[in-house]
């Protein structure tokens, strides 16, 4: 237990904020993509960045990872990683409403990632009276170890992170992907402040 850990109430509050954001984001996505988006209860955990590489190790088999940074007011910032397995990415162009020859496979992955990330985070931000800006999404090189190398580089200056794992499933397109939000330690303290303010209302 350290200063970066969330109390039970804080965890519960953040979980509920994320649930509501997921619900609204999924509704928007379902309308845009014209299909039902299945929601699972998201998981939130505080972890040390050294163990982060390990917990994400099973994702090494992922065929593609797209990363996108986000930042808002009150020092709330982090990075979203969208992790795809091989079988997930066959019909993304179709899902997005493009003809397959209109955009490359890489572009499809980047596009859907950006849509999932920004739709969710916009709704999340509005719930805490915030507003997000985003970096351009980037496809990580497909070489082996690219995830751990990327994580090492990214978590270079922090020891601790808040990890939120959200799973998206679009059954009609057998599409499935994991969104992992990583929030660095200074931003955790800022999020805790925001959560405490919300909890004070109860």
């Amino acid at each position: 237990m350290n200063a970066f850990h969330l109390t039970e109430d804080q965890q519960d509050c953040l979980q509920e904020l994320i649930n509501v954001a997921m619900g609204q984001a999924s509704d928007q996505l379902a309308r845009y993509l014209d299909t039902f988006v299945y929601l699972k209860v998201p998981s939130i955990e505080s972890i040390s960045t050294s163990s982060l590489t390990q917990t994400l190790d099973d994702k090494e088999s992922a065929v593609a990872i797209v990363s996108q940074g986000f930042f808002g007011y009150e020092g709330i910032r982090g990075e979203a990683l969208l992790v795809y397995q091989d079988e997930d990415s066959g019909r993304i162009a179709d899902l997005l409403g493009y003809e397959p020859d209109e955009l490359s496979h890489d572009e499809q992955l980047i596009d859907i990632s950006s849509i999932l990330t920004t739709t969710f985070l916009n709704v999340f931000a509005s719930q805490i009276d915030n507003q997000m800006s985003y970096n351009a999404p980037k496809l990580l090189p497909s070489a082996q170890n690219s995830l751990s190398e990327h994580l090492q580089q990214m978590t270079f200056s922090w020891d601790f992170a808040l990890k939120v794992n959200i799973n998206y499933q679009v059954t009609d397109y057998s599409f499935n992907c994991n969104m992992i939000l990583l929030i660095p330690e200074t931003a955790i303290m800022n999020i805790k402040k925001v959560i405490d303010r919300i909890l004070e209302d109860f």
Partner: protein
């Protein structure tokens, strides 16, 4: 005479949000459940008039509870309060006998309005 109320949600905060949207006088005759199994146990043991039900929960979820209520022939007015607001989900729970579908986070005025509409307030 206030109705017997059950609030079922895995989030403590969400339960509190519902609680403070209800008339003060209802608080005495009110129980809470944090998952579908707990909710069904309470529903079978006591006569609940009104159930406020979340959908996305670990284990038996809200849809499971609605199916249980049908199967067990339990008489009670169910108001679904959920973050999952996709039209498919709304029509699904209404078909399973829910009185109304309310979007999270719940607003007191909206809940009051809905209860009045169903003659419960």
């Amino acid at each position: 005479m206030s109705p017997a109320v059950l609030i079922c949600d895995d989030s403590n905060m969400a339960r509190k949000q519902v609680l403070r949207s209800l008339p003060e006088s209802w608080h005495d005759n009110l129980q809470t459940a944090t998952n579908g199994v707990e909710a069904l146990t309470i529903l079978r043991a006591s006569n609940i008039d009104i159930l406020f039900l979340d959908l996305t929960m670990p284990g038996i979820d809200g849809v499971g509870v609605l199916q249980g209520i049908q199967k067990l022939n339990i008489e009670c007015s169910v108001f679904v309060i959920s973050a999952d607001i996709q039209p498919e989900m709304q029509s699904k729970v209404l078909a399973l006998g829910a009185k109304a579908f309310l979007q999270k986070p719940i607003k007191a005025e909206r809940l009051t309005q809905e209860l009045q509409q169903h003659g419960l307030l």
